[in-house]
Subunit: 273 residues, 2 copies
Amino acid sequence: MDGKFMRNQRVSAITKILIENPNKVINLNVFTNMLNAAKSTISEDIVIVRESLKRLEMGTIETISGAAGGVKFVCDISKEECEKFLEDLCKELQNQNRVILGNFLYLTDILSSPRYLKKAGTILASKFISNEIDYVVTVETKGIPLAYEVANKLGVELIIVRRGNKITEGTTISINYLSGSSNRIQTMSLSKKSLPSGSKCIFIDDFMKAGGTASGIKHLLQEFQSELLGIGVLIDDRSVENKLMEDYIALVEYDAPKDNKSAIVRISEKLDS
Amino acid sequence: MDGKFMRNQRVSAITKILIENPNKVINLNVFTNMLNAAKSTISEDIVIVRESLKRLEMGTIETISGAAGGVKFVCDISKEECEKFLEDLCKELQNQNRVILGNFLYLTDILSSPRYLKKAGTILASKFISNEIDYVVTVETKGIPLAYEVANKLGVELIIVRRGNKITEGTTISINYLSGSSNRIQTMSLSKKSLPSGSKCIFIDDFMKAGGTASGIKHLLQEFQSELLGIGVLIDDRSVENKLMEDYIALVEYDAPKDNKSAIVRISEKLDS
């Protein structure tokens, strides 16, 4: 790249690269090469980015020293913005039009919506960011976009556990588990190639009912000599008592709709658990 | 927010907000309120962001005039970076360890990896960004993370078509279609609530074999009085001739592995079609 960049321009470029690679350590050489500037200059630029984000409560820039060192962006959301988002989400979920025959809540649109999931993912990721996570795990289908957002914000890879066996996955390990709410036996499977032994994982899903799926994931991870360090869900169904898992984080909780009346939704008591 | 921000700090904050909301129009009032600055000042800040991104070929900032106007970030990737990424992807796909029994290629890790999908999503989105798309459509399961990335970069919502019928989707419209490669009849369904009639859609999937799924999506969208404006896939299987769909964009193409030898993978001829 010919010629110099002004400080303003460098600050913009550095911000973009950091924001697009959350929780990934970026070596300062990336910036010095791209922006044709000295390391000391780039370090000063980074101080500006750090102070701006900190003041606006939009996340932090951490410095990692050593040969493999550099800087990384750690996502965060201000308490105010978090509360506003969750209140809006509750309001949206209480919409009478969302109740469908059989007293189910229609969530399909929200569960694949970047507009909702970028913030939901940031909130969930911020709860697990201090743990040293290797992988985010989810089970197909509905929770995949949310889990993908959380993995992205944590700077790790996503692993999707399949229901049943797929021919394109190679050798798989399958377990049978009891779905806590419907009392049916179900199968989940994961390719042996997917997960190295000794991995530290969190499980992200759309919904927590009795916790049968989460409990199944815990056992599946044991088969891979790996560990389940935490569970995060978007919605916690409080109408199911005696859950199989007690230790999890949820963004909102609800009492399932009855007699085709709206669901009652509020910010979860397990948001900061 | 008390006190003023320096220009550098404003530039950083504005960059962050724009990058995190690709193809979404942000009204300048958002920035004037957040940064406690006059509109003219913010406009000058935006010029700096625009020039920096343009010079580094990292996307453009467009101005939309009128009452609902503002600025938006339109993603892009330089030709150099695009080619380097696709060459790396080809190399990775040709890894002998990816060939699994039955001459399938193991892709599961790549298809859920933010590291690969952020760039793949940017490339695909840049091909469709000049069309006025309302929705990105995909079919469960493997293509979901890629389709989610493309939807995010295009600033639209994602619609996930299900295989079979699900009880939590309410009233659905289902179609039967012939899977082009296996010659089996399959079912796909979509909730009536999901898609307003008259929508303009693109279909994003991981893999193009004979095009049976894409053709099914086209018919399903017709049932919703909606239109399929384009198709984008990560990998095009060139060993299948006489495809049902000819008009699509692919990032890479391959000849399926034979006799457990590596796949042969190259940048797709349909990258710019």
